[in-house]
Amino acid sequence: MTFRILRLALIAAGALVISWLLMIGLTWLGTRSESFSNVVATGTAQYFSALTIGAIYALIALGYTMVYGIIELINFAHGDVFMVGAFVAYLIFTSLGFGGAIKSIPLLIGILLLGFLVTMVVLGVLGAAIERFAYRPLRNAPRLAPLITAIGVSFILQNVVQVLISNSPVPSPQLVSLEYRFTLLGASVPLLNLLIFLVAVVLMIALQVFVGGTRLGRAMRSTAQDREAAQLMGVNINATIAITFFIGSALAGAAGLIYGLYKGNIVFNLGFDAGLKAFTAAVLGGIGNTVGAALGGFAIGFIEVAAVTTGLSRWQEALVFSVLILVLVFRPAGILGQQIGERA
C-alpha cells in the first residue's frame, strides 16, 4: 500500500515536471521569442493556469466518472450541478456580506471552510435528490431514457437559476485577493492558483481514501462491479447510489466554489460547457476510473492552454476533441481505463 502510494506520488511528480517542460517548449514554439527568460516566464505562467483550469475540470470529472462507474449513466445534468454550486457559494458569501477580498487570514480560512462545507452539503443533497426523482424511477428503463431526463434536469436547473438570480453573468466574490502572488522563474502567479490545485488534490486524495478504505466505499465499488451480487451480499443499492451522487455532486459543488473564486464571474449556463469538457476529461482518462478522471481533467486543461499558447486559440475546442479521438483510437477505453478485450 505504501509502496503504491509512493509510486503514484512519484509518477505524479514526474508528470508535473514533464508537463512543465513541455509547456515551456510549446511556449517557445508559439512565441518564437529570442529571450529565453521570457519563454520560461510565459511558459511557467501558462503552466499554472493550465493546472488551475485542469483542477476544476478534474473535480467535475470525478462526479461524472463516479456516477458512470456505478450506474453507467452519462449524467448530463452534472455540469449544471457544478453551476448551482458556484451560485450557492455566491449566495453564501454575499449574504454574509463578503463581496471582495478578505484581508484577515484567519477570517478568510474560516469563511472558506464554511463555504466549502455548506456548498458541498447543499449540492450533495441536490445531487441525491436529482437521482431520487429523475434517475431512480428509470433504473430498469432503456439506457437512453435517463440520458434524456438528465438533459431535461439540466434545462430545468439552468432556467431556475436564470429566473431566480440573473440572466446575465454575476460577479462572484473573489475572497482570496489576487494580490497575494509568488514569483517563480520570472512568472508572477497568484497564490490562489496554487491553493486551487492543492484543494483539488486534497479532495481527490480524500475521495480515493474514502472509496478505497471505508465500508461505504467498498459498497460503492461492489455495486459498480455487479449490482445484483452486491445486493445479494446485503449492500443497500439505493443508498449506495444515492451516496455516490451525494459525493459526486459535493465535489462538483466544491469545484463551483473554486471556480467562482478563480474566475470572479459566474453565469447560469456555465455548467453545460464546463460539464461537456469535464465529461470529455472523464472519458479521456477512462470513464469509471477516478484517477483517470483527474488525469483527464488536467490533460484537458493543459491542451486548452497549449492551444492558446501556440497561437491556435480558434481551434481550441477542435484540438481538445482531436486529442481525445486520437487517444481513443489507440486506447479505446481511455488512458487508464480497463482495456476490456472482447469477452466470450
Binding site: P142, I151, I156, N159, R227, E228, R314, F321, S322, L328
Partner: protein, 388 residues
C-alpha cells in the same frame, strides 16, 4: 415483420371473419409501401386543415403553420436518420448535427454565388446525401473499435469539430458569416418563396414518404436484421457471420444520408448557411426526439420529432402571444419565453418518467411488455444489454 405478423394474425382469427376494416389493414399489412404513401397523403392533407381550427389557429396562420411543418419535416428526416444509427444499430451518436451541417454546406457551396457555381436543387439532393454519407463513413471509421459511451463522446467530438472547421475556414466557407444568397429550388411554373411554403411542403412530404418507405424496407432486410443483431449483442452477431465493421459503417452512412437530405433542404429553404445553425444543442435535440418518439420504431420517431419540434419552435415561442388575447387571469401575464427551458426540461423529464420506452415503443417492445411474465429464468446477460 409487419407482414409476417399480419399473416400470423390472419391464421389465428380465421380469414372468414375479416370485416372491411380488417381487410383494409390486411391489405396495408401486405403492401406496406402503399400504406405509407396513403398515410403520408392523409397526414399531408389533414395537417394544414387541422391548424385552421382552434387552438392551433391561435398560434399561427395556416401559411406559417405550413412553413413550420417544413421545419418540422427537416427534423423528422434528421431523427429518422439518427434512428438508424441509435435505434437500430445501437450506436450512440451525439454529434449527428455534423452531417446536417455537411449536407447544408454542400448545397450552400455548390448552389450560391459564393463560388459562382449554381447546381440545381434536385440533383443536389442526391449529391448532398452522398457527400454526407461519405462523411458518415469517414467519421464513423475511427469509432468502430469503441464501445457504448466512448463512441458517444467521439461522435460528440466530431459534432464539435465540424462547425469549428466551418467557422475558421474563412477562404473556403466564408467563415463565421456563413454563405448567404443560397439558391432556392426551381421548377418551371412554381415559385419556391419565403411567403409560399406550399411547394416546399409538397417536396418535403414526397421526400419523407420516400425515406420512410426505404427505411422500412431496409429495416426488414438482411441489413436491418444485422443492425439489430449488433445492437443486441455485437459478439454474437459477429459469430453469426455479420461483418460488424461494414454493417456499422453502413449504419453511419445511411444515417448521414437522410441528414444530408435534410441539410440540403434546410439550406435551400433558409437561403443561408452558417456555422451557428449546427451546434451540439441540435444534436441533443435530435437525440431527444428519437428517444421520446420510441427508439427503433420508425413511425414513433417521426411523430416524436414532429411533436418536439412543434413544441419547441412553435408552441413555446408563441405561447405568450397565444395566451395574451385570451385574458385568462395570471396566465396571460406570464412571459413564457423566459420559461422555455423550464417547460421543455419538465416536459422531457415527465415524458421519460411516464413512458420510459418512448411515446410509441416499437412493436417488439410492446410485445415484450405484455409478455414480460414468466421469464424468471432469464440469463444474467440481460442487464448488459446495450442502449435499448
Amino acid at each position: 415483420m409487419t407482414r409476417q405478423r399480419g399473416t400470423v394474425e390472419d391464421s389465428e382469427t380465421g380469414a372468414t371473419a375479416l370485416g372491411s376494416t380488417d381487410r383494409l389493414f390486411d391489405f396495408f399489412g401486405r403492401h406496406r409501401s402503399v400504406a405509407i404513401m396513403a398515410a403520408m397523403l392523409l397526414v399531408a392533407i389533414a395537417l394544414p386543415l387541422i391548424v385552421l381550427a382552434p387552438p392551433f389557429s391561435g398560434f399561427n396562420t395556416q401559411g406559417v403553420w405550413i412553413d413550420n411543418f417544413n421545419g418540422a419535416g427537416i427534423y423528422v428526416l434528421l431523427a429518422l436518420g439518427l434512428n438508424v444509427v441509435v435505434g437500430l444499430a445501437g450506436l450512440l451518436d451525439l454529434g449527428y448535427a455534423a452531417f446536417f451541417a455537411i449536407g447544408a454546406y454542400t448545397y450552400g457551396l455548390l448552389a450560391s454565388s459564393f463560388y459562382g457555381i449554381h447546381v440545381p436543387f434536385w440533383p443536389m439532393l442526391i449529391v448532398g446525401a452522398l457527400v454526407a454519407a461519405l462523411f458518415g463513413i469517414a467519421l464513423g471509421a475511427p469509432t468502430l473499435r469503441l464501445r457504448g459511451d466512448y463512441l458517444a463522446i467521439v461522435t460528440l467530438g466530431f459534432g464539435e469539430i465540424v462547425p469549428v472547421v466551418f467557422t475558421n475556414s474563412d477562404a473556403l466557407t466564408n467563415g463565421t458569416n456563413g454563405i448567404s444568397g443560397v439558391d432556392r429550388p426551381s421548377l418551371p411554373g412554381i415559385i419556391f418563396g419565403a411567403s409560399n411554403p406550399v411547394p416546399f411542403y409538397v417536396t418535403m412530404v414526397v421526400m419523407l414518404t420516400i425515406v420512410l418507405i426505404l427505411l422500412y424496407r431496409l429495416q426488414d432486410s438482411r441489413l436491418g436484421r444485422a443492425w439489430m443483431a449488433i445492437r443486441e449483442d455485437e459478439l454474437a452477431a459477429a459469430s453469426s457471420g455479420v461483418n460488424t465493421i461494414t454493417t456499422k459503417l453502413l449504419a453511419f452512412a445511411l444515417g448521414a444520408t437522410t441528414s444530408g437530405l435534410a441539410g440540403v433542404f434546410a439550406a435551400s429553404r433558409l437561403v443561408f448557411v452558417s456555422p451557428d445553425q449546427f451546434g451540439f444543442t441540435v444534436s441533443f435535440t435530435i437525440l431527444a426526439m428519437v428517444v421520446l418518439g420510441g427508439m427503433g420504431n420508425i413511425w414513433g420517431v417521426a411523430i416524436g420529432a414532429f411533436v418536439v419540434f412543434i413544441v419547441q419552435s412553435v408552441v413555446l415561442k408563441q405561447l405568450t402571444n397565444f395566451l395574451q388575447p385570451l385574458n385568462i387571469p395570471f396566465l396571460s401575464s406570464i412571459d413564457f419565453l423566459q420559461y422555455q427551458f423550464l417547460l421543455f426540461g419538465i416536459a422531457l423529464v415527465a415524458m421519460m418518467l411516464l413512458r420510459p420506452e418512448g411515446l410509441f415503443p416499437s412493436s417488439r417492445r410492446r410485445r415484450e411488455l405484455h409478455t414480460a411474465q414468466g421469464d424468471d429464468l432469464s440469463s444474467p446477460q440481460e442487464s448488459a444489454e446495450p442502449l435499448t
